[in-house]
Symmetry: D2
Subunit: 370 residues, 4 copies
């Protein structure tokens, strides 16, 4: 719980809401960005959550509608400080949460950090990929990478932990890892090229010249050609999946990852081009993917190449896999809404697990199409 007065203890807690009408008090830090807006959209309709505070840069008692007109009806206001909360969602620039979290989590408040500061297990990755030394490397081991499809039991185990810190995944890693996990688990990744396409909302809400409508519309371009930071997560988690299954994926060590900006607001499509370590077949791949995702509430294995619009506004993931007999390669595609499953929705999904709630609570919305 975030307060200024409670002593900093770190004893085991039970994060399940009490019965009846009890709700979990939640705060959102970074509420004025696109991810913050999406957290508000989802959490304000979450049946077991009460949003008790929104924090934003230099905003004092400003109605959220002044920033996000579509959320005016929530009646929420943004302030410079948060009241005591049971859980806090952080949507902050990298390097910021790393300093805040120890104090918050030490108070027993569950932390769902949507930035990268608690995604990587190795402290050495932070100076390398993000350009800062992590101030609290001791917390990285206990923090959980918040991709429920890969770390469900670890997330659930935070329910009673003294400190609960979730490093919620990046948008590209989410789409990419869910497309590749069944292959990684089988040691099939012999060589890997990931070519991804994203709408512009992933770049945030700050006004930048190259995100103006006149520049983005009717155009596509690649970026991050000198190494996108999300590579670190992708390599870490592919290695972890392989390791847990006792296999190695030689192609997952130095991933060739290229993101593109496409003229749309939401959506990520990640196309993974895999040269397998051995001969395989469409039938084997179909079985692998069906087995991997049969019980996943948000993942569908689809028979035709999925469009990002099929999941727009929802927490869903569509995964597609194809064996190309001519080339012997595998194509694996994942599509998500970058602001939902790629950010706010996934954070709520992890939050549910941490609090012992059904994983889909508050995330039942169907996609919005056309």
């Amino acid at each position: 719980m975030v307060t200024g007065t409670r002593p900093s203890t770190a004893t085991a807690v039970d994060r399940r809401p009490a019965g009846g009408d009890a709700t979990i008090r939640v705060g959102i830090v970074g509420a004025t960005g696109y991810v913050g807006a999406e957290l508000i959209r989802l959490l304000s309709r979450h049946p077991q959550v009460t949003i008790v505070g929104l924090q934003g840069r230099d905003r004092h008692a400003e109605p959220i509608g002044a920033t996000h007109a579509h959320l005016a009806s929530t009646g929420l206001t943004v302030d410079t400080e948060l009241p005591p909360v049971d859980a806090v969602f952080l949507a902050l620039p990298h390097g910021t949460a790393a300093n805040l979290v120890p104090g918050i989590a030490g108070e027993g408040t569950a932390v769902i950090d949507l930035g990268p500061d608690f995604r990587l297990r190795s402290a050495a990755d932070y100076p390398r990929w993000y350009g800062f030394d992590h101030p609290h490397p001791e917390l990285l081991e206990s923090a959980v990478y918040g991709l429920p499809e890969l770390h469900r039991s670890e997330l659930a185990a935070l329910r009673g932990a003294a400190r609960a810190i979730v490093g919620s995944p990046g948008c590209y890693p989410t789409a990419t890892l869910l497309a590749l996990a069944p292959l990684a688990r089988t040691g099939l990744i012999g060589d890997l090229v990931v070519d991804a396409k994203s709408g512009v909302s992933g770049a945030g809400r700050d006004a930048k010249p190259d995100l103006m409508f006149g520049e983005v519309n009717e155009s596509v371009k690649a970026y991050g050609v000198d190494g996108h930071r999300h590579v670190a997560e992708i390599e870490q988690e592919l290695a972890a999946v392989g390791s847990a299954a006792g296999v190695t994926n030689p192609g997952a060590d130095a991933v060739d990852f290229l993101p593109h900006l496409v003229p749309m607001t939401r959506g990520i499509l990640s196309a993974a081009h895999v040269r397998p370590t051995r001969a395989t077949s469409q039938a084997e791949l179909d079985d692998l993917y069906a087995a991997a995702y049969a019980d996943e509430p948000f993942v569908s294995v689809v028979a035709a190449p999925p469009a990002t619009k099929h999941v727009l506004g929802s927490n869903r993931v569509d995964v597609f896999v194809r064996h190309d007999e001519r080339t012997g390669r595998i194509l694996a595609i994942g599509v998500i809404d970058n602001l939902v499953k790629g950010a706010a929705g996934q954070a709520v999904q992890a939050f549910n697990l941490v609090h012992g709630l059904p994983e889909t609570t508050g995330l039942e919305q169907l996609p919005l199409a056309p």
Copy 2:
């Protein structure tokens, strides 16, 4: 209730669901169009509804996902016939529902028709605006124009009526009438030009050359220059509002209405340019609109010109009014999502009233932005 065997009686019914877990059995006819999809999206999450049947042209036991990929997870199938239902939503071309409804409504099934066949009170308007003679003019008087903000009590009165037929409003009339109703009620409309802009989803899902991406993108054009059919509804309802209030609006008799197609999928903005019948002021207009919409769950009077994105995916309406001191005119703007408040959401709102449910049931979703 739609069945093949029950005798056609028309005695009073009580449409409120029984207590506990009882739900209302609902069918959707025209499920393969955009409006049909949106009905499925909303009704499949409606807590007191069970969708028991979807009907579509020549589809026999086809999964809805084959048509609407984003709805695959509902597990629903489309068929050529409906099972017995308590209520049916019709999303059909004009002239089709007029023949179907008498049989359905005679069986006690509530009918929410999203086409124009039961919107107009005068049978003479059908050959004039729609090019067909209405086959059942006797039903037009009892059918209710399903704009709850104007006809709430009549919709609620259908709860116990032998026949319950709702003619759910067109998209343009919804945005326009809600922008203008407070003026019409005060007799302020001395002259009226309505200039509206719509996304392309209002034109439906059938492949047409002028709705191809290459034609629509990066372009805007007017259409319907020889008289758009929605004028009939706008004039009828403005007259009704004035009449109920005992005033006349000389500018509402022959409305100059011009729609435009803009390069977006969803959204309607209707800008009504009014020359008032007498001098007025911003303060008077603010009071009129505040009073008119203070208790409306879905209508917000906003202080800055609203964008359609502020209501995207929701049943909300943003209304804006401005007195121009220089010209003496009034500008009134209404924005909606044409597929929600302009079609499926409004139909559900009316359905709720007809069944004695809270009006907002199943319609609580916040807008999706950015």
Copy 3:
């Protein structure tokens, strides 16, 4: 000619290029904006022009490709000063050109100002609409409003004038005036509502939050509800057209003008809703428009509502007129590319006239569609 050394004389000049390969030396001030880019695009292919200088804010010898990647192949550079030129195009914020022009024009250099500082004939309009007192009201009378279709002879007369100052029209006025001129000339405008739609490039290249792709895409909104500055030009020129024809247009005195931002980069559609001063007919209107534009190289009177894409990238204007028998009103629509006929192209067209060149020189490009 702009130089630092020549005495400021103002004697008659002949602006026609000498024969043979002689070209007109041209400079562009404000080259780093969207209008500046469009001037470069057109003028670098103009057969009788040599661009000898580009000026931009704080840019010293920077290749134009650093700002406008699509113009890199021109090999031009932007600098803080211009060399001597025969003609200069100014694309500057309002209030800036007013101070610069007297010095430039006094040197014999023809000035085509694409801002508003020389569009209005009455100095009193500047504090009213633009919030500044014009520093050189004495120049307003001799400056010519650069709409060739209305002021061709005055533009041509600048060829030998001591001072040649063209106030190139705004984008909305261009589309609106060309749609309405035949009616204004006949005194038919009894009441006027102008409802216009524009792509975002009209708002310029500076990064602003409400012009970000995520805000503009999939949305439409009105703006300028407290009076858009372009009203001043529209009223001035409609009055001038009527006055020249010896008629009055009671509806043109206090125009109700409302602009909208639509999700596209280029294009303006202006829909003028006119209540005529007397009964008219489609046949009369057809004759009026055919007569008005029969010999205009860039204006087409079209039989179906025009789309902005039909003129994209070109200097063309499509005009459409319709008499509505039901309401008795007239609808007149004009569409242009706001950066070409609404800015750079029109400026080149006026430049051609001022220099005694065929009016279409350098402007022969066909529209780019789809």
Copy 4:
């Protein structure tokens, strides 16, 4: 020359236009599609061409403006037959031109075929990739693959040939081959994944459900996952480039090619992910690309990842190459306007070479941005 009466001889001709005002008479078959429109746009402004005939399906003396409103001002009409011409451009579905061309080319008329029927050198590739047996395999050897940057001298040699048949390249191959040619020439392609993104105009002008605005907008998807036909051209030409240079590229034999549809009208970006056959460096790549394209009028090697908007509406190609030190891979990107350099513009470029004209004639337009 196409006529109905001349005997079918095939003697050497000289295709250069006679001096002075002489122009080349040109016909366009398939004028009602998007590629046909683009040919008209470019050729109607080509200083040494007269368009003497347009042919379209079932159109008899119909103004081109009825199909392509933006071309109405050309005054051209579409008919079911062509008059005699010196050169003909064919924009037809695959399998159609193969039967027409022998007759046309036999008459001495130069043929620029924009479909695939004369792109592949091996007749066996037609049943494999296009599903038809080529009716005239004897013509495939003498037909020239119309990518001037790779086959300039062969195109120029057609100037005096009895038969001149150009198989103008596909859009994806154009962007891909120009991105990769310098690597292929050096034998550097050890493994190759090509991930391409295209606007929808490449899919043509016929109304199809999945090309509707409502489906394409705000969405991205992959397609052609079972093998896109353009792979055949890419593999053929990469092999030819290597072979001509006396090197082999083991990665160019079975290319992994994946195209995507992105929500824009024009533009292709092809990202080629290459694992080199040996160690290389950015400096070596920079030298290779600079040398390859130093004298190419339409190809620019750019230092930052190019956007498709940078070449929109022009015949330009922007090429980018990057060595990734971390992974040891090479990224090569090519961007084009699919309808210009990817279709009509490239065809005109080849036409110029075949007729002894400067290669850039009629193709000098700068890109249209923003």
